[in-house]
């Protein structure tokens, strides 16, 4: 249904939650006229700025690097700023991510998510004296953990994981990705501490290899594979960490 100027009429159905007005969430439909090359985020902004200023969501960079606007779009967790209207169609359903407490509309409480991230000691552990210049690391050693350094902590993987929905205490995929980033870094000496944390009841073993997380990751991280590598490191000890 392209208009003469090339724009499209798009219907966006949003799961609203306005705690100061209504105790329960409800659905609301909006219609906007947008360029097919617009981002879904542009369409949401258009609604907010022109139709309904109460529509609430987070956003900042608008090009998929800050991790603010992960939400459930047509049943899948995506970043609204990375998705073009032409790729998602003219009937779009938008909800907050599952598995997170909702604060308002599409804004969820990220504090528990960051608390779990902190659990796995997400920082370089190495007490050896620092050299005057850089620590050496070969390009191959650097490549070993390249993929998991891409994580932007948007929560799309964690919010797509049925094991997270079933058990809010589980550390979840994003934390394991960030543990992986250090466990496989040749400069780090904290692998055993982290593996111990992750072999606990709420550690890696709750992962049922469903692959939702890998599909959800807007940074193209093969999350399930990273989790598998961490599982293997737990089973076979640090030898598995080459």
């Amino acid at each position: 249904m392209a208009a003469a100027d090339g724009t499209l009429s798009v219907q966006i159905k949003v799961k609203r939650y306005q705690p100061e007005k209504e105790a329960k969430p409800y659905w609301q439909e909006f219609r906007v006229q947008v360029d097919p090359k617009d981002r879904l985020l542009d369409a949401l902004n258009q609604i907010k700025w022109e139709q309904d200023g109460t529509l609430t969501f987070r956003r900042s960079c608008a090009h998929g690097v800050c991790g603010s606007d992960a939400m459930r779009i047509n049943g899948r967790n995506r970043l609204a700023c990375k998705l073009l209207i032409e790729d998602v169609g003219t009937r779009i359903t938008v909800e907050p991510m599952l598995g997170f407490p909702v604060i308002r509309d599409l804004v969820v409480d990220m504090d528990p998510f960051f608390a779990k991230y902190e659990k796995i000691k997400p920082y370089l552990i190495n007490d050896e004296p620092e050299p005057r210049t850089e620590r050496r690391q070969s390009p191959e050693q650097r490549e070993r953990y390249d993929e998991t350094t891409k994580c932007i902590l948007c929560g799309a993987c964690t919010g797509s994981c049925p094991s997270v929905w079933a058990n809010a205490d589980w550390v979840g995929p994003a934390s394991i990705v960030n543990a992986h980033r250090f466990i496989f870094d040749s400069r780090d000496r904290g692998a055993n501490e982290r593996l111990q944390i992750l072999s606990d009841r709420n550690g890696v073993w709750r992962c049922r290899t469903i692959f939702n997380c890998s599909e959800a990751c807007p940074r193209g991280i093969h999350v399930t594979d990273a989790i598998e590598e961490v599982k293997r490191a737990i089973m076979y000890g640090s030898n598995a960490i080459e």
């Binding site: 609430t56 800050c66 308002r104 991230y117 920082y123 620590r135 350094t149 902590l153």
Partner: protein, 580 residues
């Protein structure tokens, strides 16, 4: 009103704020306030790299880096600051590596380095490899690494708290007032020290590389409290933004050998800058592009040209430029392996900001009088290390070098002798009135924020862009006075206290208008062309009259701040004509 008390309150959790926090976390009571979760800060969007004369790839010296910074800044750079930047960059980069930053590596395991615009060997002889990088997500890695260290050091964060006001009493900074987004409550932070690290204001333009959160809050808050803003007319337009959207394609592409082409397929930069070619400084390349377009050599006669990486080959593109080529695929449907990418200049970086000395202390006049207790670092500040034009990869250096210096100075020199200044009477008065005033106008009559925002951004792009003139600037000055009045009557649609992002946006819009006011006034008075400030009606640099920094003070007349000037610090390099 909620009351908090800390030795140090840092506002902003980007590279600059976290770097200061790192120096203080061990032994002081500190809090970091940020309107975004720290990892959402715009530092994470930086792509290309961070400059430091490590000499890992070829001979390099900090003095060459210092010279490039001064020359790149068209001699408006304060040379004492440039020296510190170039010298201390080296240790600051090693600090980052020791904290775990995953830099790309050379075959022998050192930090890899690549070329970047305006960075040269031996005082301008040719390009040098000085940019330390982690693929094309260096800023992401810096931000992640510093946040990781903050977690390790158990820094106290107040996330999604928006600073609305700065408190000054008895000649000393003594606190900030912030809005807690989650429940709309107002918080007063009483402190001995405040560090402003709130970033830039690129959202004042329509085509910009900046995040929606880059709204100049720190600058506007200081300006409203009577502090000057320095050199705001010096705003950088990066040559290679994605056509129509402004998303940045890092100079790293050109550092790796990308071409810029006009409609005849000509690498026109060579015509203008025979030595540095595409790697001439940004202000110049942006002007080359505007000139080509003006002379009808834009692609298809339109207002864009091409950036081409196809000749670099798939392997190099994937290894060195994966993110930015994805932007082209994702947002323009262009496959950079084979196709050139449509680009145009995009509003990118504030060289100006809140004036500071080389310790990061905020100074308030021509004599560089320090305002005790107040520091600023990063894009919000103006040391002035970037002068009239910042070189690529020099902002990340600025964050880590001056963020670190500010933190160290606070710890070693200021805190041992500082005391809490008492809060002024009714400390949250301004902030509470602002918020309640806006909320009470909800659902009444009058216009909402949208038209005001659009007009500001459209007209700034048109009138205060790469090329300016008396006519366009005067028109914009009037427009700003009009927008200020309209903003004062703006109507909200959202009356809620829970996560009211419309309220946040309207306050941000007010801040952008303040920043734009200082920008336009400085540009109007500077009747010369220098660095990022190009006047069609005064095309030459004029050292006799304008080798000096602008200080803009807010006045009672909308659109017309009072302007004062202070001299440039020149130590080693006398101003010369800038050729590349």
């Amino acid at each position: 009103m909620n009351y908090h008390k800390f030795d140090v309150v840092i506002v902003g959790a980007g590279g600059a704020g976290l770097m200061s926090a790192m120096q203080l976390a061990h032994n002081s009571s500190i809090a970091v306030i940020s309107k975004l979760y720290p990892t959402r800060s715009h530092t994470g969007a930086a792509q290309g790299g961070v400059a430091a004369a490590l000499g890992n790839q070829e001979e390099d010296h900090w003095k060459w880096h210092m010279f490039d910074t001064v020359k790149g800044g068209d001699y408006l750079t304060d040379q004492d600051a440039a020296e510190i930047l170039a010298r201390e960059a080296i240790d600051a980069v090693y600090d980052l590596e020791h904290w775990g930053l995953p830099f790309n590596r050379t075959p022998d395991g050192k930090i890899d380095q690549r070329r970047f615009g305006g960075h040269t060997r031996n005082f301008g002889e040719g390009p040098v490899r000085r940019s330390c990088y982690a693929a094309d997500r260096t800023g992401h890695m810096i931000l992640q690494t510093m946040y990781q260290q903050s977690v390790k050091n158990q820094v106290n964060f107040f996330n999604e708290y928006m600073m609305l006001d700065l408190l000054i009493n008895d000649g000393q900074a003594c606190g900030v007032v912030a809005l807690c987004l989650r429940d709309g409550s107002i918080h007063v932070f009483h402190a001995k020290t405040i560090v402003l690290a709130t970033g830039g204001y690129g959202r004042a333009w329509r085509i910009t590389s900046n995040a929606l959160a880059c709204t100049g809050d720190g600058m506007a808050v200081a300006y409203r409290r009577g502090l000057p803003l320095e050199d705001m007319e010096m705003y950088q337009f990066h040559p290679t933004g994605l056509y129509r959207i402004g998303i940045l394609l890092s100079e790293a592409a050109r550092g790796e050998g990308a071409y810029i082409l006009n409609n005849e397929g000509e690498r026109f930069c060579i015509r203008y800058a025979p030595t540095m070619e595409e790697l001439a400084p940004r202000d110049m390349v942006s002007r080359f592009i505007v000139q080509e377009i003006a002379e009808g050599r834009g692609i298809g006669g339109k207002d864009y040209v091409y950036l081409s990486v196809a000749h670099l080959g798939k392997e190099k593109i994937d290894a060195k430029l994966p993110d930015i080529t994805d932007f082209a695929r994702n947002y323009l449907n262009v496959e950079p392996y084979y196709e050139p990418i449509p680009i145009q200049p995009t509003a990118h970086y504030a060289m100006g900001g809140i004036p500071t000395d080389i310790e990061g202390r905020v100074v308030v006049d021509e004599q560089n009088t320090v305002l005790p207790g107040l520091y600023a670092a990063g894009e919000v500040a103006c040391v002035s290390v970037h002068g009239a034009n910042r070189l690529g990869t020099n902002s990340l250096v600025d964050l880590i070098v001056f963020g670190r210096r500010a933190g160290k100075h606070i710890a070693a020199k200021w805190l041992p002798e500082a005391d809490f200044a008492p809060l002024p009477a009714n400390p949250d008065g301004y902030a509470t009135e602002l918020v309640e005033g806006l909320l009470s106008r909800a659902n009444g009559k009058g216009e909402t924020q949208e038209r005001i925002r659009q007009e500001l951004r459209d007209e700034m792009t048109e009138k205060v862009g790469v090329v300016r003139s008396e006519t366009t600037l005067l028109a914009m000055q009037q427009k700003i006075a009009e927008l200020k009045e309209r903003w004062a009557n703006v109507r909200l649609m959202d009356t809620s206290h829970t996560f009211n992002t419309e309220l946040m946006e309207v306050i941000e819009l007010g801040n952008l208008i303040e920043c734009a006011e200082a920008t336009v006034a400085g540009a109007l008075a500077r009747k010369e062309s220098r660095g990022g400030h190009y006047r069609e009606d005064y095309q030459k640099r004029d050292d006799a009259n304008f080798l000096k920094h602008t200080l803009a003070y807010r006045s009672d007349t909308p659109g017309q701040p009072d302007l004062r000037y202070k001299p440039v610090v020149i130590t080693e390099f006398q101003p010369k004509e800038r050729k590349y």
